[in-house]
């Protein structure tokens, strides 16, 4: 069982027992963003969350598909949301502005969450969610548990192999991103920095080859084919990664939730293969 999996189950049982929410806590919460879905699934009282976004039912993107599947999904349109009669809508800061302004006109309260750009942002988003849902006490327990786990996973490694995060269309993520911090936390250097990229950006395949990373970390493939993902099968990429390739589980990396601990654990396992003597 994953590090975080067991923990979250224990906490969920504890949350069930601890009972009553604050008096003014929202009772019909609708979430329309994959990441707010997961934070709400972790922190809400049972039956407080009445709908999640459709992406949460997709096992490739959602780290909590088992829990999410029990809750009806919405398509994130204003009409869809309004008919659910929510007293709180959880959205991302990049959710469709047209939808959000429509909800505003209809008088539906909306709480927006910025994406987590770093591991440190995770606790902040959890805290924001706890306040929005009126579940501060339970949330603080989860934040404490998360931070303890995170500290225990911090890399003490002497060697720092050079890794590249490489996605469809030659997209890479630098150190100032959540995925970049996951990589750093597990003791890797990010070659995107050598190419002058600190946040996200396109790293041409040629440049990646010339950088010769020790490890190329690629995403899970989506169903059906796309030309965008063909770059991940390019013979030149195959040649440099031979043994050193790793398919990461995207869903643990996408959102700033405690599931990031699983991603760090996976990368630490990958780090072991480089051994202490190298």
């Amino acid at each position: 069982m994953s590090v975080y999996g067991l923990l979250s189950k224990i906490l969920m049982v504890a949350a069930l027992v601890s009972g009553a929410a604050f008096a003014d806590a929202p009772k019909r919460v609708v979430s329309i963003n994959l990441c707010t879905d997961q934070l709400a699934l972790l922190l809400a009282e049972p039956r407080q969350l009445i709908s999640v976004s459709r992406l949460s039912h997709d096992p490739i993107s959602s780290a909590m598909v088992d829990q999410a599947i029990a809750i009806p999904s919405n398509r994130g349109t204003a009409e869809d949301i309004y008919l659910l009669k929510p007293d709180l809508v959880l959205a991302g800061t990049f959710s469709s502005p047209a939808t959000l302004s429509m909800l505003d006109r209809l008088g539906v309260p909306v709480e927006q969450f910025a994406p987590a750009y770093s591991v440190a942002d995770i606790a902040a988003r959890m805290d924001q969610m706890g306040i929005a849902l009126g579940r501060q006490v339970e949330t603080q327990d989860q934040i404490d548990a998360f931070e303890t786990q995170l500290e225990s996973l911090r890399s003490q490694m002497q060697i720092n192999p050079r890794a590249a995060l490489y996605y469809a269309n030659g997209y890479t993520l630098g150190e100032k991103t959540l995925a970049g911090e996951i990589l750093a936390h597990a003791g890797f250097q990010n070659v995107a920095k050598e190419a002058g990229l600190t946040s996200g950006g396109t790293l041409p395949l040629e440049q990646l080859i010339m950088l010769q990373p020790d490890l190329v970390v690629t995403g899970t493939r989506y169903p059906a084919t796309s030309r965008s993902e063909e770059i991940l099968d390019h013979p030149a990429l195959d040649a440099i990664r031979r043994a050193n390739r790793k398919n990461l589980t995207d869903r643990d990396w996408i959102c700033g939730t405690p599931f990031v601990l699983n991603a760090i654990q996976d990368m630490r396992d990958a780090h072991q293969e480089f051994g202490p003597s190298k």
Binding site: G201, T202, Q207, P223, A224, H234, A236
Partner: protein, 329 residues
């Protein structure tokens, strides 16, 4: 003598552009280091970049250019109309539709030849439709109108197929299929498309004598022993095989088949047979130049080849329509 000189000039231009294409790329490497890597035996990253990324890209540019230039010249020679071009008459977009269907249904994943074969089938449908609608004389109005309709329908169906795909990246690839790009292609794509393209080139190159005869009119051509039905089928299969295979690996690149024969026509006189080979080599030079341009203009974005070609080609197309106005109305 005059043709020999043109041949040498075009070949030199193409060779220079081919080498230039090998030297342009986001990895900043010196000219001599890059070229030396092509002949070195030890495996190093630079050699990998040259052999697996830049060389296939340059080769594909040549293949695409030859296919498009040759197809454009052949269509124009047969229809005796300078507006005929695989992109404008809907052959490229129909080939793209075939390719997209093969990719999204999984046919291409099951057997490799499924992709070029499906694109070829799409192209055949478009060429047959065009020849049927435009008739042997190839009137400009019917040609352009039929081309618009076929392109619009094939483009819409391509978008539909990509929108239906469960893959989240598929929708953004509509641009690739409509505009074409050679970014990050590999030798796999070269070997996949080459056999079909060679078949197409051989068929189109064999049309030279018939096209010269056709300049005298169909009756005269027939009396000279030209078998018109056979010529038509040779054209259909030749254009479909070369443009279909090209589109399957590089997307639809427009206007090459329009611009190249137009520029070269004055150098070969009124001999369609000479225009064929000249347009083939000229097409290769044009696509190589356009592909170098997209990398120089926006090095870190994947600017589509069709964008550059349309900026050059569309004004010329308008100019040709203006010239042919009387004929069109």
């Amino acid at each position: 003598m005059r043709y020999l000189r043109l041949f040498i000039i075009l070949c030199t231009l193409t060779s220079v552009l081919f080498i230039a294409s090998l030297l342009v790329g986001p990895a900043n490497v010196g000219v001599f280091d890059s070229l030396a890597a092509l002949w070195s035996d030890d495996t190093n990253p630079l050699q990998l970049v040259m052999y697996e990324i830049r060389l296939p890209r340059a080769i594909l540019a040549v293949m695409a250019g030859v296919s498009l230039g040759l197809s454009g010249a052949a269509l124009q020679g047969y229809l005796r109309n300078p507006l005929a071009e695989p992109g404008l008459i809907g052959v490229s977009s129909s080939a793209a539709l075939g390719a997209v269907i093969a990719l999204q249904t999984g046919i291409a994943a099951q057997f490799a030849l499924g992709l070029p074969l499906a694109a070829l089938s799409g192209a055949v449908v478009a060429v047959v439709l065009i020849l049927f609608l435009a008739g042997p004389r190839g009137g400009s109005l019917t040609l352009i109108l039929a081309g618009i309709a076929i392109s619009a329908l094939a483009g819409a169906l391509t978008s539909l197929v990509l929108n239906l795909s469960p893959n989240p990246f598929a929708v953004s690839e509509i641009v690739f299929w409509m505009m074409g790009s050679l970014t990050d292609r590999s030798m796999i794509h070269v070997t996949l498309a080459l056999p079909f393209m060679i078949l197409g080139w051989v068929m189109l190159a064999g049309l030279g004598r018939s096209m010269d005869a056709l300049t005298l009119g169909e009756d005269a051509a027939e009396s000279m022993g030209i078998h018109l039905t056979r010529v038509r089928w040779q054209l259909i299969i030749g254009v479909a095989a070369s443009v279909g295979a090209m589109t399957a690996v590089a997307g639809a690149i427009g206007f090459v088949g329009l611009v190249v024969p137009h520029i070269l026509r004055r150098f070969v006189g009124s001999r369609p047979s000479h225009l064929l080979w000249a347009s083939a080599i000229g097409g290769a030079a044009t696509v190589l130049a356009a592909d170098i341009a997209v990398r120089l203009i926006l090095p870190d974005r994947d600017l589509k080849l069709g964008v550059v070609m349309a900026i050059i080609g569309a004004p010329l197309f308008l100019h040709l329509i203006y010239q042919n106005r009387r004929d069109v109305v």
